[in-house]
Every structure is written in C-alpha cells, then in structure tokens.
Symmetry: C2
DNA sequence: TATTGTTATACTCTATAACTATA
DNA sequence: TATAGTTATAGAGTATAACAATA
C-alpha cells in the first residue's frame, strides 16, 4: 500500500494509487475514531440513526430495506440493532402485511438523541470541512462514489 | 449522517456534508470488504506489510515509528504484529541501542508474500481506478489529506 | 521518573453457516 | 421452496488501564 517500488515504467501511476488507498485507509480510521470520540457514536450507528430519522420513514423502515440502504449484512445489522435497542434508541415491530418482516423505527428517546446529536454533528462539520469550497465537496463526493463503484466491481481471479 | 432536515437556511451546505461523510463511510466499508475478499489481507495488514517492504526500512523499523506511521495505538499494533508473526510474515527483534525498543521487519517469507500480493494489488488498482484520470487522483488525494487533517483537529466541547 | 512495549479486558464490527417462522 | 430475520461462532480491530523492563 505504501510501497512505491514497481518493476515497470509506470511507477508514478502505481504510486498515486498506493497513496490514494493509504490515505483512504487513514481517513477511514480517523472517521471511526473521531466519530466515536467526539460525537459518542460509531459511524455505523450514526448511519443507522440518520437513515431512521428521515421524514419519509417516520413510520419505520423495513429491516431488509435498511440492510440494503446501509450495505451491511442482515446478521450484522441484527447485532447493531440489538445495541441500539439496548440503548432504547430503536425498536423493531412485526410488520402487519408480512409477518416475517420487521419494521425498524426510532423511539421517542431515539429522536431526542438524534436531535441532540445533530448539534454536535453541525459543529463537527463546521470544523472538519473548514477550508473546503462547496464545489470541492461536490467533486469530492463524485470521486468517492466513482471509486466506491469501481472497487465494488473489482474481482481478482483466485489463481495465486 | 443521511438526515437532510436542518432548521436553518443552509440546508444544502449541510446536505453535502452528510452525503460526503456517508459516502466516505461506505467507501471505507467497501475497502475493508474488497481488500479482505479479493486480496486476502485486511487494509491494516496491507498497510503494515507495505510500510515494512520499503527499501529504506530493509533493516527493520522501530515499533514506535511504525505506530506513528500507521496511526494505530501501541496496543493495537502489538495485536496486529502478533497475527503477522503467527503467519510468519514479520519478526520483532530487540534493538541494540535501546534495549526497550523493538525493530520490526519482514521475514523472507513475508517478502515473498508481499511480492505475490503486489501482482494482485496491481490488478486491483487497474480495475478499481478505471476511468480515473491521473490528475483526478492527485486532486482526490489532496482532498483526502485535507479532510483527514481537518477531521483530526476537530474537537467538540463535551457539554451535551 | 519517563518511555517502550506487553498484557488484560471489554466492546464493536464483520463474515459465515445454520436455524425459525412465515410466505 | 424461498424469504425474513435470528442465533451462534469466530476473527479482527479498537480503546483503556495497568504492568515490566529499560532508560
């Protein structure tokens, strides 16, 4: 990842890729650490609460839709929701139409928690994005999306 | 994180921040998953091996320098190195000057492993970065760096 | 006393397989 | 049979505190 020795002539092309992935790795770690430390929630919890706090899912969101939205597995979402239920931020209710399905929604306490969290997030953004122009952020999001798609569709043949 | 309801007039500014952090969160997850699945190593192991494979640290790297380089705590680096030692990719030797300190280096087997990994990483990059211009990557790295610094220096006052 | 690295502990997140209850 | 969600298990990473050896 940080190795810049390549036996071909496009060492620079390779090096920029290394640098990019290494920085991405570091930034991911920083997000994990800062989110937990400064906001008091992990990025995944943040994402779950954010998803459930939206107006359009005020009556709850299907468990299955939530796994797809967040991109985490059913099993792991179950664990996440267990912790959020333990903290009384979330409840799961059986769906009326399909009794196998569950609707996930914020509790009143979860809404209050989220609103308080918003204040911190607002300040978090203010400091974190200081010096970024609006258009820079748009470009940045575009790059993140593009890389995410490119990476998700990458497949290395299993031959060593 | 994905909530776009704000009670002020700069909802768009807030929304782009949300989108950016949510995409960053997703890309971090994708990197974790794809690295482990397609390359057979976690991003952290990748980073450790990459750091130790560099020419300039052929005689080993101080444990303490490695924690700083990677940005992980001493305790966690110890755990990482335990797993890498278990797989015979790395060894730790007492430093001669300062006998409290340890030098970390790749084993011969670790070097072989890294070289084989390089072939996969090369292909990983080829697919993942398809469609990215060189200059886009330079800009992207710049943004990642800038955001990392901004985020690391963010401090929310502990008052709820 | 301070620093280097280690041990111990607990928690979070992830991946995988097997299970249940509905459909 | 297939799908929705759960349980079980193992591994990996992280944070924190306390410790031994050396400086």
């Amino acid at each position: 990842m940080s190795n810049e020795q390549v036996s071909s002539q496009d060492a620079n092309l390779y090096a920029i890729n290394n640098r990019l992935v290494f920085r991405l790795f570091q930034l991911g770690n920083t997000l994990d650490r800062m989110s937990s430390k400064e906001l008091g929630v992990s990025p995944v919890h943040w994402a779950v609460l954010g998803a459930l706090s939206r107006e359009q899912v005020r009556e709850g969101m299907l468990f299955s839709d939530l796994t797809e939205y967040l991109g985490v597995s059913r099993q792991n979402l179950d664990g996440l929701l267990k912790r959020l239920e333990r903290d009384s931020h979330v409840i799961r209710l059986a769906d009326q139409q399909d009794r196998r399905a569950k609707k996930v929604m914020l509790t009143t306490q979860g809404h209050v928690f989220w609103e308080e969290l918003q204040l911190k997030i607002y300040e978090f953004y203010r400091q974190t994005f200081e010096g970024f122009l609006f258009d820079d952020k748009v470009t940045f999001v575009h790059f993140l999306n593009k890389l995410n798609n490119g990476m998700k569709n990458t497949h290395i043949s299993p031959k060593e």
